[in-house]
Amino acid sequence: MTQTIQDTDHLQPNDLSAFIDGELSAADARDVQQHLETCHRCALRVVTMTQLKAATARAGERFAPSPDALARLAAQLRPQAPKQSQQTARVIPLRPSFRPIAAWAALAAAILLAISLIGWREVRRSNALAAELLDQHLATLSSGSTPQVISTDRHTVKPWFQGRLPFSFNLPEPDALPPDTTLRGANLVYLEGQPAALLIFSIHRHEASVFLTPRTSSFTISSQSTRSGFTVRSTTAAELRLMAVSDVNPTELNALVTALAKVQ
């Protein structure tokens, strides 16, 4: 495989797929990375394929079982369970109220189980969302991508979103932003299929992406986490949810998020 990477100018489709799936050997992955540093075309292909992979994951997760179905399936996991309850019922025939109690207990257990599975699903979704935020952030970093609105002027950026978003937000005066933090531009993006405003800031020489969505959207994400060396910060302010991604130090990212939250 190493040979194919070195012998040809561009990444082979199989290697490209294996690279974004993290299935290449360390040596092969290093070769690919070296190639990507100099080849804009292949770097763009990697970004496209990474976005496609994330979008496929979301599309594939559409069909969840109903809580009822989940409870029925979970009940089936214990082969002895039905036998045991029959035996107990036979042993205590003089207490007819036992059956309803057992039924209620089983129902309660099923509900608890469904809730815990939903919780587990939420954790997984929260990871998926953090990955999506990071993908979007990396896409804005990639050379050749320009924001849909390029402006440092809040009076240009904010009106641009009118009619594009089903909600509105405020931007602080430039001097209300933390030191050496500048608005660079903005994009309209989709998170889990819902429109969101993406504001691009530079803090010193780092880029920061701030995503704004309505607070009511069903996103689940922890307030602060790190992913592949990037800080992901999330908070709510007024009717909005703010989520920020950057490789700048977490304190400065917090300062930016706080400044934005204050004016909502």
Binding site: P13, S17, T56, A59, E61, P65, L77
Partner: protein
């Protein structure tokens, strides 16, 4: 020497024993229930993608559970349980009525090699595709040929490693790799076709 001293101390001895038994407990093989419970949503979702029907998806998972419970003795602990049970799910589907009907048309492996998709990966036009348009991606995944969709779901949704996918599909790893590349190419082509229609 140090070790002997440590064990001579009665308090530390107790601690040592507690630690040992704790370690021993965690090394116990997990039960079928412990292994299968967290996978129920995944199994159901994958069964739905195979059968495209909610009632049938539940039946398929029910049958998969009872088959794998019976065969659990043959499962080697330490190997990948998810791949093992997904393989049983897949075989259950292929022998179901829908599965037999499907294999006559689209699921036949021989057919797959005849499905021609050009070999090159994303072209410059592909970057025009709005991958942030989730509805478009959903539609494209619905239209993808089932064998290509299957491998993509195992990789991108179930996040399985190639070697585990190879186990589920019962094909060599090389085939998993090329099928995935082809599936992604086909998905991009479907998205491109959609884009041309809307323009």
């Amino acid at each position: 020497m140090v070790h002997a001293q440590t064990l001579a101390d009665p308090v530390l001895q107790v601690e040592h024993r507690t630690r040992y038994s704790e370690a021993h407990n965690t090394m116990q093989t997990p039960t079928f229930e412990q292994l299968a419970l967290p996978l129920l949503p995944s199994l159901y979702s994958h069964a739905f993608w195979l059968s495209r029907n909610h009632a049938e998806a539940e039946d398929l998972v029910q049958e998969t559970i009872s088959k794998s419970l019976r065969a659990f003795d043959s499962f080697q602990s330490g190997t990948n349980f998810k791949a093992w049970i997904f393989r049983i799910l897949r075989n259950t589907f292929l022998t179901s009525r829908t599965g037999i009907a499907a294999s006559r048309t689209v699921f036949l492996e021989d057919h797959l090699d005849l499905l021609e998709t050009s070999d090159d990966s994303p072209t410059p036009e592909d970057h025009l595709i709005r991958l942030d348009n989730q509805a478009a991606v959903n539609e494209a995944l619905d239209q993808l040929q089932p064998p290509l969709r299957e491998v993509l779901l195992l990789c991108d949704v179930e996040e399985m490693k190639y070697k585990d996918i190879a186990l589920v599909l019962d094909v060599p790893i090389g085939t998993v790799m090329s099928r995935l590349a082809r599936a992604r190419r086909a998905l991009l082509q479907l998205l491109q076709t959609q884009l041309r229609k809307t323009l």
